[in-house]
């Protein structure tokens, strides 16, 4: 079964953008606690630009949409999250190239995204970054069918909670060492919104 179409992918971006706008202050506040206080601003700007770019553009394939998303995020976000999310979507796009996006292609694409994040950011599990969430999502998808969205979001939430008690060893939060404990990682939180948005789109079906 095809799970992502050009239309749905655009809708996915739409849903992400709404969430980034709504939660801009929350994400920024999380980043003020252990970073430099701009994560919400960066994400809101990035997905605003993504929408501006893709809304009126005609795309032949999901891969094309995601390539556009990746390019826009890379060019408009900056900071650490820009290259990371840019790479994630680019890798997804590459994995989907020339294919229709069924469950298998989708799962493989997520795994590719995770590998891209790792390659770019050089983070492993437990370093209190958005890699944690993406990796757990990929792991979950390897075991479970894509329909179980609630379970997937629970995995995300649990991972976010896990980041709270970690000491960061990548990104700005790493400067804090143990002082980064007790705060949730902002990038993990924005990743959650990306998957939550995806869920809304996929759940509603065609």
């Amino acid at each position: 079964m095809i799970i992502l179409t050009v239309e749905k992918t655009k809708k996915w971006m739409n849903e992400i953008q709404k969430r980034m706008e709504e939660n801009k202050e929350q994400l920024t506040a999380l980043d003020q606690a252990i970073g430099d206080g701009d994560h919400g601003i960066n994400m809101e700007r990035g997905f605003r630009e993504v929408l501006a770019k893709i809304s009126d553009t005609h795309y032949e394939s999901v891969a094309d949409v995601l390539k556009s998303v990746a390019m826009t995020l890379t060019a408009k976000v900056g900071g650490a999250s820009g290259p990371l999310y840019g790479t994630a979507f680019l890798k997804m796009s590459m994995a989907m190239h020339g294919k229709e996006v069924d469950e298998i292609v989708f799962k493989a694409a997520i795994r590719e995204a995770v590998e891209g994040i790792k390659m770019r950011g050089k983070a492993g599990m437990g370093e209190k970054t958005l890699y944690d969430v993406w990796n757990q999502v990929a792991n979950f998808l390897e075991e479970e069918p894509v329909e179980d969205w609630n379970a997937l979001l629970e995995v995300c939430q649990a991972t976010i909670e896990d980041t709270r008690e970690m000491a960061a060893s990548k990104g700005r939060a790493s400067y804090l060492k143990d002082r980064s404990k007790g705060h949730v990682d902002p990038g993990s939180m924005s990743s959650y919104y990306i998957f939550e948005a995806l869920m809304t789109v996929l759940e509603t079906g065609e």
């Binding site: 919400g40 976000v77 900056g78 900071g79 650490a80 820009g82 990371l84 060893s169 990548k170 990104g171």
Partner: protein
């Protein structure tokens, strides 16, 4: 914190316009980019020097664009690394065929974005190399962290690499002297008050009326510890001791910078610099030159940083050479 701004989303664009229109006799903006270059780029036969980073650190980095320092500064959103496409534009604009050196401050975001740009530029056949400045001794340099941050010491790297490039040296030679500078420069800062990212609309952190944050980062990243406010002389020696614990400067010739983070008046910077001079002399170091002022700021943060650079004859010579930029001139 009140700001003199129009649309917070246009701040960077308007700042760049303001800057390049005010100084159009020797700076220009590459059209439709956030890149500021010398008017005469590419300078034939010269290695191009590109630096940059998030904005909010003015006069860094555009203030160091000019003869004898940078060829281009790439400007990001406030406290956010510029993106690869912008860095590529800068690289292309300054390359005369002799190659381009990127001077990057050690932040995950900056490193990733500049490296992506480097990869892409290399694919287009431009010779690009990079150095990463990590002078901030407040951060432990271990394999468990992303390493030290780059702060005010970066300005010395700009000056020295810029002078070397101006002299006609090769990319490898320019990189080598930049690395030497990085190996010999150490800094540490303190904040007395927070700054506010304009788009965030509120202070990045909060400090009590009698508190200060030792080891602050230039984006308001928390430092080593929060302690009661002390006298200028005490703060100066605390910062200096941390630097000297990290690197031995005894009997060396050194360059010193006391850098204001934004709101601290120059008057106070000189009170600090007085103590720094005294202490360094007591500790038998030979001060070659001292810079006091705002070189690498954090918006309207109150506080300052101290930077020491150990000089050999080559570094001394390069540091002393003429240069002509908005915020650094010999």
């Amino acid at each position: 914190m009140k700001k003199v701004v129009n649309d917070v989303n246009q701040i960077v664009d308007e700042m760049i316009d303001g800057l390049t229109s005010a100084h159009s006799h020797y700076l220009k903006r590459l059209p439709n980019t956030t890149v500021i270059t010398r008017k005469d780029v590419p300078v034939q036969g010269k290695v191009g020097i590109v630096s940059g980073g998030g904005s909010g650190h003015e006069p860094a980095h555009a203030g160091y664009v000019g003869k004898g320092m940078l060829d281009a500064a790439v400007v990001g959103e406030v406290f956010t690394s510029p993106t690869p496409d912008q860095v590529i534009e800068a690289i292309k604009a300054v390359d005369s065929g002799a190659g381009v050196l990127l001077i990057i401050k050690n932040y995950t975001g900056d490193v990733m974005n500049f490296e992506m740009a480097k990869e892409m530029a290399e694919m287009e056949g431009i010779q690009v190399d990079q150095v990463i400045v990590n002078d901030d001794v407040a951060v432990e340099d271990s394999t468990f962290t992303t390493g030290r941050r780059g702060i005010a010491g970066t300005v010395f790297v700009h000056k020295i690499a810029g002078a070397m490039a101006e002299s006609g040296a090769s990319l490898a030679e320019v990189k080598e002297v930049a690395e030497k500078t990085i190996a010999n420069v150490r800094s540490m800062g303190v904040a007395l008050s927070s700054c506010a990212v304009p788009a965030a609309g509120k202070p990045s952190f909060h400090l009590g009326d009698t508190e200060m944050e030792i080891g602050i980062g230039i984006h308001g990243e928390p430092g080593i510890k929060r302690v009661p406010l002390q006298e200028a002389d005490q703060i100066a020696s605390a910062l200096l001791n941390n630097i000297l614990l990290d690197k031995d400067y005894t009997h060396s010739d050194i360059a010193v910078m006391v850098n204001g983070l934004g709101a601290t008046p120059e008057m106070e910077l000189y009170i600090v610099s007085r103590k720094v001079t005294q202490l360094l002399k007591e500790k038998q170091m030979n001060i070659h030159r001292t810079w006091v002022g705002e070189y690498m700021t954090s918006l309207e943060m109150a506080g300052f940083s101290i930077t020491l650079l150990k000089l050999d004859d080559q570094l001394k010579d390069l540091l002393d050479r003429d240069c002509k930029t908005l915020s650094f001139c010999n």
